[in-house]
Assembly symmetry: C2
Amino acid sequence: MEQGKVELYNSKEEYLSDLEKRGKLPEGFKTSVVSLEFFPAERPVEKPLPMKMSLLMLDEPTSVFGAVFTRNKCPGAPVIIGKERLLSDKIRGVIINNKISNVCTETGVEDSALLLEHLAKETGASAKEFFPSSTGIIGWQLPIKDMVKNIPRLVSQLEGGTGVNLATGIMTTDTFPKLRSAEIADGSIVAVAKGAGMIEPNMATMLSFIMTDVSIERETIRNVLKRVVEKTYNSISVDGDQSTSDTVIIMSSCKKQKVSEKEFEEALYNVCAELAVDIVRNSEGCGHVVKVSVTGAPDFETARNIGKAVVNSPLVTTAIFGNDPNVGRLLSSIGDYAGNNNIELDKNKLLISLGGENVFEKGAFRLDQAKEVRLANYLKARVLDSEHKEFPEHNHTVNIDVDLGARAGNVGATVFGSDLSYGYVRENADYRS
Amino acid sequence: MEQGKVELYNSKEEYLSDLEKRGKLPEGFKTSVVSLEFFPAERPVEKPLPMKMSLLMLDEPTSVFGAVFTRNKCPGAPVIIGKERLLSDKIRGVIINNKISNVCTETGVEDSALLLEHLAKETGASAKEFFPSSTGIIGWQLPIKDMVKNIPRLVSQLEGGTGVNLATGIMTTDTFPKLRSAEIADGSIVAVAKGAGMIEPNMATMLSFIMTDVSIERETIRNVLKRVVEKTYNSISVDGDQSTSDTVIIMSSCKKQKVSEKEFEEALYNVCAELAVDIVRNSEGCGHVVKVSVTGAPDFETARNIGKAVVNSPLVTTAIFGNDPNVGRLLSSIGDYAGNNNIELDKNKLLISLGGENVFEKGAFRLDQAKEVRLANYLKARVLDSEHKEFPEHNHTVNIDVDLGARAGNVGATVFGSDLSYGYVRENADYRS
């Protein structure tokens, strides 16, 4: 299927039932989710706020795991601890909560450590064998007493089955759980992700947990993960913000056949590329999904950053929201990025098209009245139908192609983003309520 | 007056009458504005679109002039020609149009050149003595025939008086003309500006024309202009986009006393700083004006860019729009910028305050329920009253102070921006209609 296309479901039930089908956990994994309520210390609220705690656990410890974290310089306590965990010999699992991201509170690292200690006691494993992971409001303290109280329940409810429960447990503003999987050799890769806004450029407020049971080396899985994350989760962008908590963790139970690095990378890339598009399609107030394909760049970084410059320009994304083919803003955002980053840009070699229609070539715009009408119709036909509230609302993309014309190198990248709508503003104007 | 504060007017008439009072043109300058209508080649429209052409002209040529242009790598034809003009010995004036920015059309440079030739013929000056300047839609051709036809009228209507006519002629989505002035020695500086969205980081879709009659060296005026632009027009940000057409031009008739570089720089700084704030207060859908004061930076660039990272974060600006003191997003945007640009950031020395309330200190957030209520009330009290449609709607700022704690260097910068509102999305979703 063309990258960025997704299946359509007639109802939420149909989507969830398909998730159940493709979400069977790889061998050696169990999950559980519990709900709790709490009163935050930082804000007066009339009724308690809901939180979900999720546990992802291997039946036996594994040395084959890896993780990639946000580059944000003020990371949350779970990221600080997670980076240390990369040095651990073996790992048993991940404990995750939504609603509060545990970033820069006075007791943040202690709070996460305390959770892990209680988890270790309850499971018989070591605290060093768990990753903590939190997402949600930045700056608030975890309701640690309420959370600790729920750990026995969390552990006792661990079960096999599918990853749908976990995919649902980690959601914040996501409207649908996101899970993708692939069969590989005699095993599988199953990944869940959370993220619906604030997605860019380093997996912002994006959590993804990837499970596999095929056998592979620790070093290999880590290298593959880094490369795949760059081309998938780090190539989507909803609003140009990266969060303090972004985390991708991969773990293998190694219960199945050995696979080659190449085979594994291909399968992992497909899974993560699909999840990345799911995240954009599920983003706050997304009306149009925008796919920018950049070619002819001297290197991957440049290609991806030009693509991001386009999908991060509020002028481009508001115009797309309004079905206005204001293609001048495409050129402006490209020229803006190039000018501010000392990127060579030969206007005469630059090609820009929208919906397959050539709009810029040989240094000049190529526009006429008939093309304007076609482009406006193209945008109108690609907006989601707000009456239709299933997942996703549609499977179109607004295709923007940019050829930078640098034949030396000639590297490409594909970046996904969404339009900037009233819905985005509404969703984010009081996220914490 | 505190930087960012502006006077309030009870009615548009009162504001305009004050503009007339402070807008008297320096000696040796004349302006004129004509309106015309045209049918664009690129879009089917039912009725013709309006355009204004403005002319700013010196009675005699001057060698004392300078200009600063956008860094966008796909600049408009007027910018390309303008850069050449900096080499001219003498200058007579600037011809400006709104509605179409003349960027990257097949005949763009020829079109601007043709305008100047007709202008030269009509005025008896040389085409090389004029700057062209255009703002508006990117990618469309100038309606050159209609424009040429209006040049005799434009020249015949040149008159002294005030700069209000010019300030009005250059507007696009601006709701009010913007003009600031200062007395200096026995002369004055009078500047007009246009810009209401897409303002960042290099004067995006921002035009400013600055006139003075005091005597000063050509070299000096150019150096002063560059420094002042960095701290004023290049320190405001509405949406992180810089346009293909941003231009600031300064010209002196040298009819008055000689002034020192320091004296001139102070006066010019004040004029441009006030205009920059006017632009933000006049931006599309602006509800809160946000002022980020960064201190303790190792250098000015870092200070300004951290400030811009905050006011350009859609998560920060949507929260402010919603009167939600989501201060976690302030830290996240700072950490995001630092992480992606390899800026040293010592969390333990970082101080963040909102409305004078300390929210982050010694590596941790300092939040409680009473503070949350105070901060929410603070934001609510600083939003414009949408019932009150005068200029500006209010003169508050939402004050965000960030101390990066770098005692070595300890450089600061002040950045202005606005919240991200439904109004911004509406205004930009079909700008061209």
